[in-house]
Structures are given as C-alpha cells and as structure tokens.
C-alpha cells in the first residue's frame, strides 16, 4: 500500500465503484444519518451490478472496500483536525459481515480510537437505514510516518 497523505480525496478505485463522500455538515439532509456523530466524514455507495455478489446482494469485497475507504477518511480527518502532517499506510484490516448487504445505498463511518506517533487504530461500521443495525464492521491498524 502506498502511504496516503491528507487531506482526503477519493482515489480512482473509489470513484469507479461509485463511492461518494458526505461531509458532517450535510448529515442532517439524510434520514439514514440521523444517529451519526459529527466526527468523521461518511462514505456512501449505491447498489449496482459492479458491486453485486450473489444476485441481489452486495459483494463482501465491495462492502469491505467501502469500510476501508471510510477508515482512511476518518484517520485523515483526525490528523487534519490536529494539524498533524503524517502519512498513513494500512497494516491490516479485519472485516465482520453482520447482515446481508441489501440492494440499496450503504453508508460507512470510521472512528479513530487512537492515533499516536507511529500507529493508529480505527473502527468502522457500515449500515443501510439506521446505524444501530450495521451490515458490516471492521478494525484497521495503520502505520503513521
């Protein structure tokens, strides 16, 4: 993985998958973001054949890709808020699939549990209609430079 510098911009892969960034100031415009803390940006992705696994459901890899991108976004936002100038590189990720990924928009938001000098630990959840019923979650560990 290539080190990522903030501020955060969606890379070509995310755009090709139809991912989009929702800034905290826009959260009030979507019912699905009602319970969403203002901390980190939310990523969203529509259902489409390019994201489909078994017929009618999201592919686990597409959901995993969205979770990971939301993890990047959360850490970039945290570092930027601190005024820190650090590059980040994912060390590992572990995804739990909790519910079927249904054919409607999916949202994901990360939370930085700790960002130190060399390592950051991030949690991410993805949901459809309400974040109290997540479809998937992950933890990620990052190396900071």
């Amino acid at each position: 993985m290539t080190p990522l510098h903030h501020p955060f911009v969606l890379p070509p892969y995310a755009l090709a998958m139809g991912m989009a960034l929702i800034e905290p100031s826009e959260f009030s415009e979507r019912a699905e973001l009602a319970e969403t803390p203002q901390g980190a940006p939310v990523l969203t992705m529509d259902f489409s054949p390019r994201a489909e696994g078994r017929p009618g459901y999201f592919h686990g890899g597409a959901i995993g890709g969205l979770l990971e991108m939301a993890g990047f976004a959360a850490l970039a936002a945290e570092l930027e808020a601190r005024g820190a100038v650090q590059a980040m590189k994912p060390i590992n990720i572990s995804v739990e699939f909790l519910r079927n990924g249904m054919p409607r928009p999916v949202f994901a938001q990360g939370q930085v549990l700790r960002a130190g000098r060399r390592v950051a630990n991030v949690r991410v959840e993805a949901w459809h209609d309400n974040r109290v019923a997540p479809v998937a979650s992950c933890w990620m560990n990052f190396r900071l430079f």
Binding site: Y13, D46, P49, P55, N92, E96
Partner: protein, 163 residues
C-alpha cells in the same frame, strides 16, 4: 451520490444458476464465469489455477482501480474483493459442490506495497470444513509467492439446508 441506472437483473458469478447446483463444482468453469458477472466481473477477475483444496484468482492491473499516493498501484479495496472471491471459490473447490454461503469474517495483513502495473494473484486454500463453517487462508503476490503482498484468513458459513 452517483446517478446509476436501475440495475438490470443479472446473474452473479457466484450464483447456483450459473452451473448445475446438484452437479460437481467445476473450478475452471466457475473461474471463467467469475470474470464476467457482478463485482468480480467489474474487476475482471480471472481463473489462475486450482487443486483439490485450493483456488487461484488473478486481479489484472487497471488504471481506474488504483488507490492513493503514487499512481499506478492498485487500491487495497480490489484486493479485499480478490481475497473474498478466491477464498469462497477454494471452499467450493474443496467441497466439490456449490453450497450457498456467506463470509463471516475476513482478515487481511498488508505485507508490502504492490509493484505498479502488475496483476495481483491470490492463492486461497480451504484447510478445514467443519459442519457449516469453512476455514480458509490465502496469500496474494505479484509474481513470486515467496514474496507475498498480503496474507488473509477467512471463515465462511454455509446457509443451505442439509448441512
């Protein structure tokens, strides 16, 4: 939000409709179908090989799938999809038949950066099946499996009857 046309009814690469659900699982045929439909089709995943308990899938390098930083390096998102697909295929290859299943969890360690412009190969081995749980490990590399890019472990749960 992207403005998508409503998706056409399509058949997934990992669907029982794509081969006889009661017949033996054919990793070569399934590997060909994998690259044509759904998310694996979007990524152009290709069959790389198989054995009694392993399946290899190839993720070709593509300009629109690159990630952050220096251009030309594949993003990690497609690598997650590559692992998820190859590990599922390895289970059906070992079982010798198609069984509906879902990913319970998938853990990936990113060992080193990919080389720009190179395809990524994932070799997944289903090392145990216990009832409705299947356990898989996988390595991803870009030419030399002794110098891996990433390592994954996954657990799948079958959802069909008669397990």
């Amino acid at each position: 939000m992207s403005d998508q046309p409503s998706p056409e009814p399509i058949t997934s690469a990992l669907s029982p409709e794509t081969w006889r659900i009661d017949g033996p699982f054919d990793p070569v045929l399934a590997g060909k179908l994998m690259g044509k439909l759904g998310h694996p089709g979007f990524l152009d995943l290709a069959y790389g090989g198989h054995g009694p308990d392993w399946f290899e899938a190839v993720l070709p390098w593509r300009e629109d799938l690159v990630g952050f930083g220096q251009m030309d390096v594949l993003a990690s998102g497609p690598v997650i999809s590559l692992f998820d697909t190859a590990t599922a295929m390895a289970i059906w290859t070992r079982r010798g038949r198609f069984v509906p299943q879902v990913t319970l969890d998938l853990r990936i360690d990113y060992v080193r950066a990919a080389v720009p412009g190179r395809a990524v190969v994932a070799r997944a081995e289903c090392y145990q099946v216990r009832g409705d749980l299947s356990f898989v490990r996988a390595l991803a590399h870009d030419g030399d499996i002794a110098d891996p890019l990433a390592h994954a472990t996954a657990i799948f749960m079958s959802t069909g009857e008669g397990e």
